[in-house]
Structures are given as structure tokens and as C-alpha cells.
């Protein structure tokens, strides 16, 4: 049974038609590569799934239940976590504090509830270890590498035992070594039966981890096929429009 199913999703911003009748489904533990040119509608699509925008038309099913999210928090409660294109971290806080932001662990201290930094640091360290990342819980995010920031953003998604993780260009603007790290993080999620939608412009990354590739062009879905049945050349053609559909 699919964890996520989209039916005829459309979205327009005023006169701009960002998405047009996109349907999609996702199995547990499946990694879907979502590709398309700048402005094709990729970010808009994942933001709709994550509850940032409401679709102008169409339906979203999580498991078998139809959902209508009004706020990202509702989507998170349904097991959907998103790693935003700009990561949405707080630079001035530590890695562990960022991981737990908004759902901090506390302990009682007399009549007060105080932050339980010890437990949060330990739990974050464990998450980073699970993700096989060399990220130190007590380091400030400001001082971290791009790959480590990705690890923090992804570790956030692991807290809530998410079923679906949406990642918007996690490998843009990081070094080759760090790209490998992030791809390993994705494999780790897959290994734990979490479904992933990976948006990326980098063909090798998508072919390295994705099970299936979906291509959007000008808001329309023009292809949706297993990685084994396509090639980078074909996908490039689909993105640019040299190939109409496949």
C-alpha cells in the first residue's frame, strides 16, 4: 500500500499556473527523484505535500486517508517531514538545539520545567550516529559545513518517526565529499523503510539513490519511471522538452 498518493494536484499563484493535474504515489522505503527545470514546480509540489501551500485543486492521501493540511504542523503530525531548500535552521543555536527546536526535552527543576540539554545532546548524538554523520551536537550551526547542516536538518525529521521525508535540493551548494554524505543519509532513511522524495538538479545523485524518477515540465508531469528503465540522456531530454513525454 502506498504511503502517499496525490491525485490531480493543481496550483496557481494568481495568473501563474505552477502545477497542473499532477498525480503521484509513493511506497514505503521508496526514494523518488523529482526532477525538472527551474520553475518547473518541484518546490511547490513538495510544499503542498508538507502543508505549506494548499492545492488549488486535487486530493492528497496519506495511507488511505484523505488529508487537507492548513499548516505544516498538521502535515508533520501525519508523519511528513520536509527539509527545505534553505534548510530553515537557526545559525546561533547548537546542532542539538536545532534538532529539538519546538519540541525540546525538559526536566523539572523545583517548580520549573528547564531545558534538559544533557538528554538532547545525547539523543542528537545518537541520531547523528545513526545517520553516520560526523556532526557534534554542541557545535553551533553557524560553524558547520553544508553537509553537517544537512545532517542537522535530516536529524530533525528522524525525531518524529516520519514516514515520508521530502528533501528540496539537499545536494546543491555542497562539496563532493559532503554530497556523498548526504546520499548516504538518504540510503539510511530508505533502509529504515522511510519514503523519500528527493528534488535535485544533479543527475548523478538522483541516479545513485532513487528507485524511480518523476519529471515535471512547466507544472505538468511528463515522465514517471523506474531508474532501471531510463537513462540520464532521456531524463535530460524530458527536462528540456527535447523529448515530449515518456
Amino acid at each position: 500500500m502506498s504511503v502517499l498518493r496525490l491525485e490531480w494536484i493543481s496550483k496557481h499563484f494568481g495568473a501563474i499556473q505552477a502545477l497542473e493535474e499532477v498525480s503521484l504515489s509513493l511506497e514505503p522505503g521508496e526514494v523518488l527523484g523529482l526532477m525538472g527545470d527551474n520553475g518547473a514546480g518541484k518546490s511547490t509540489l513538495v510544499k503542498i505535500i508538507a502543508g505549506n501551500y494548499r492545492p488549488s485543486d486535487g486530493r492528497i492521501y496519506i495511507g488511505d486517508v484523505q488529508k487537507d493540511f492548513h499548516h505544516p504542523i498538521e502535515a508533520r503530525e501525519s508523519g511528513i517531514e520536509i527539509v527545505y531548500q534553505d534548510l530553515a535552521l537557526c545559525d546561533n543555536l547548537t546542532a542539538a538545539t536545532n534538532v529539538f527546536l519546538g519540541r525540546e526535552l525538559t526536566r523539572s527543576f523545583g517548580p520549573f520545567r528547564v531545558m534538559d540539554f544533557g538528554s538532547m545532546n545525547a539523543a542528537a548524538a545518537k541520531l547523528f550516529k545513526e545517520l553516520k554523520s560526523e556532526t557534534r551536537p554542541k557545535d553551533l550551526v553557524r560553524d558547520m559545513s553544508g553537509g553537517q547542516r544537512q545532517a542537522v536538518a535530516i536529524a530533525r525529521t528522524r525525531l518524529a518517526s516520519a514516514k515520508i521525508v521530502l528533501m528540496d535540493e539537499p545536494t546543491a551548494a555542497i562539496s563532493v565529499r559532503q554530497v556523498a554524505e548526504v546520499l548516504n543519509l538518504i540510503r539510511e532513511l530508505k533502509h529504515q523503510q522511510i519514503a523519500v522524495i528527493l528534488i535535485s538538479h544533479r543527475m548523478p545523485d538522483v541516479f545513485a539513490v532513487a528507485d524511480r524518477i518523476t519529471v515535471l515540465r512547466r507544472g505538468r508531469k511528463v515522465a514517471d519511471k523506474p531508474v532501471s528503465e531510463t537513462t540520464p540522456e532521456e531524463v535530460t531530454g524530458l527536462i528540456t522538452g527535447a523529448i515530449q513525454a515518456a
Partner: protein
């Protein structure tokens, strides 16, 4: 990052995690509040040597008491600045609080009731500031600039712009509260220490404090994690107003009279204290210790000018230079970090 930060080979992941980037010492050296503290300490030491009037118990008592009011208000200001805002209305809020207290006590009400009403009036100012800033998204600068004018005008209307210097049956108690001392320490200073500890605790150890830092650094990210950003902003401006209200009550007791120009242009010294102490006007950074030390430095400068017989007109020049120096220091550090 420091140069030793470059990739190393680690025996295991745990080694990598345990490996501390900064030594304790270098972390301290990187703190602006530490350098301000050194500057204030050196200034005190120099004054103690150069003049024989500085290090007298009476003068030290006066210095600490004088800076206590600015420092108390600076605690709230620091919280606002950390959250990414600014509160220009603190001086007027202080005046309003003192005036409400004075009028009620003058009419024969007990101290506790009048003080509660005074602080409630301050909190109301903070609430209005916060609601306008959070829900109508009017820039904090504009809202609190308007409130600067509004709150002082309210104090004038309430008092008919007259000085109040008779405080009814609890007068002695009020003068003791604001002007007295226990264990040789002026009461405003004791209040400052307690409130500073409270603020430090709130910022460091509560979820509220963490969220204040979070919205100051990346408001959108904080909102996406489910933090109630709007409510948090309101609480931040109420916090600042609360400290101004408390300072107003204490200052009324110390002065023994309240006029409507109490706390005029105080917001400037208060913001200066926070900024000199390391609060970043862009939001996301600031410390309690820093703002207290910043307030102390300003008062020491003022005091030294008097003791050294230099015209107090120079005070503004020194405070202004320190503000610019403090921000320049921060910029230089940021530039150095970027170039690594």
C-alpha cells in the same frame, strides 16, 4: 572555524564527536562581554589610582546604584534585541509606571497596591507594543517610537504635568525600597542582581529563552518548527515593559519625587548598554552579563568624567564611541570568520 578545524582522521565516530573545537579559553576570548568587562575593570583600576575619590565606599555605592536603573531596563532590552526587535518606549514606560505609582500613593493607597498597578500599566504598554508588532506586523521601531510619545503623554495627562513628591502613608517604605540599602548594598543593585539572575535563567534554561534566540536568528524557521512566534513576540515586549515598570517603581523611591521627564532619552543609554555588551541589533545574540557590564561601563565613564573634572558634555562622545567600537568589533570578528 579555526585552522585546526580542517578534517582530521578519527579513530571512531565517537572520537570525532568528543573532539572539542574550541578550548574553553579561546571561547572566553571570543566573547564581547569579556572585553567590555576588561575595559570597565581597567577604567575602574585607573580611576582608583589616579583619583583618591573613586574608590571610596560612598562613591562606589553611588556608581553601582546609578547604573542599576539603566541595567535593569537593559535586561529587558537585551531580550527584545535578541528576538530581533527594538523597544524605544522603555524610558516613557518607566515614567508612566513611576507616575501611576506616585499618583496612587499620593491618594493614600498602600505601596503594594500602587506598585502592582504601576507594573500593570507598564505591562499594558508592552502588550500593546507586542500586539501591534506581532499581529499587524508594524516594524518595532515605528510602534515603539509612537509608544515613546504616547506613554509619556499618558503620564503627563494623569499627573496634569505636575511633580508628585508626597506619597501618603507608605512614603517611608517607598523611600526605603528605592533609596535604602541592606548589607551595605543599595536596594536597586540587589534588585538588579536578582532580576539579572532571573533573566539569565530564563534565557538559558527555559524553552521560552531558546525560542527567543531562535526567532531572532531565523523567524521563518522558528515558525515552521511550530513555535508560536506571535505570542512569543508579545511576551518579549511585555518582558521589556515589565523591567521598565520595576525600574520606575524603584527610581521613584530613590528620587523621592516623580516628574514627567523621568527617564527621558533613557532608551539611548539602555540600548547602548545592550549593544556594548554584545547584543546584536540584527537579532539572535546578546547576554545578560554583557548588558549589565555595558551599563556599568557607561556609568563608570560618566563618573570618571566628573571625578577628573572633565565637562560631562564629553560623556556622549565616549558612549557613542563605545557603541561604534562594540559593533565594529563584532563586524571584524564576522569578517575574520568569513575569510577562513
Amino acid at each position: 572555524m579555526t585552522s585546526e578545524d580542517k578534517p582530521k582522521e578519527f579513530a571512531s565516530l565517537d572520537d570525532a564527536i568528543d573532539w572539542q573545537t574550541h578550548s574553553y579559553f579561546s571561547r572566553i576570548l571570543n566573547k564581547q562581554s569579556f572585553w567590555v568587562f576588561i575595559a570597565a575593570a581597567i577604567a575602574c583600576l585607573a580611576l582608583a589610582i589616579v583619583t583618591d575619590t573613586f574608590a571610596t565606599p560612598q562613591n562606589l555605592f553611588n556608581v553601582t546604584r546609578n547604573f542599576a536603573f539603566v541595567a535593569i531596563v537593559a535586561l529587558g532590552m537585551t531580550v527584545v534585541i535578541i528576538s530581533g526587535g527594538i523597544d524605544l518606549s522603555v524610558g516613557s514606560t518607566l515614567c508612566l509606571s513611576a507616575m501611576v505609582l506616585a499618583i496612587l500613593m499620593n491618594a493614600g493607597n498602600p505601596l503594594w497596591l500602587s506598585a502592582l498597578a504601576a507594573i500593570a500599566s507598564a505591562l499594558l504598554v508592552g502588550l500593546v507594543n507586542g500586539l501591534l508588532i506581532a499581529y499587524l506586523r508594524i516594524p518595532p521601531f515605528v510602534v515603539t517610537l509612537g509608544m515613546l510619545s504616547l506613554a509619556r503623554s499618558a503620564a503627563m495627562v494623569l499627573s496634569n504635568n505636575k511633580m508628585v513628591f508626597q506619597f501618603g502613608p507608605d512614603e517611608k517604605l517607598l523611600f526605603w525600597l528605592g533609596g535604602g540599602s541592606s548589607f551595605g548594598i543599595a536596594h536597586p543593585v540587589i534588585a538588579l542582581v536578582l532580576l539579572a539572575l532571573l533573566t539569565g535563567f530564563m534565557l538559558k534554561w527555559t524553552r521560552w529563552g531558546t525560542h527567543v534566540f531562535a526567532i531572532g536568528s531565523n523567524e521563518r524557521a522558528a515558525g515552521l518548527t511550530g513555535i508560536n512566534v506571535l505570542g512569543l513576540k508579545v511576551s518579549v515586549y511585555m518582558c521589556s515593559a515589565f523591567f521598565a515598570g520595576v525600574a520606575g517603581v524603584l527610581e521613584a523611591g530613590w528620587l523621592g519625587g516623580v516628574t514627567t521627564n523621568l527617564g527621558q532619552s533613557m532608551e539611548l543609554s539602555v540600548i547602548a548598554a545592550s549593544v556594548i555588551g554584545g547584543a546584536n541589533l540584527m537579532g539572535g545574540a546578546g547576554t545578560v552579563f554583557g548588558s549589565v557590564v555595558g551599563a556599568a561601563l557607561i556609568e563608570v565613564i560618566r563618573n570618571s568624567l566628573i571625578l577628573l573634572g572633565i565637562s560631562t558634555f564629553w560623556q556622549g562622545a565616549f558612549v557613542g564611541s563605545f557603541i561604534i567600537l562594540a559593533v565594529a568589533f563584532d563586524r571584524l570578528r564576522a569578517l575574520r570568520d568569513e575569510s577562513r
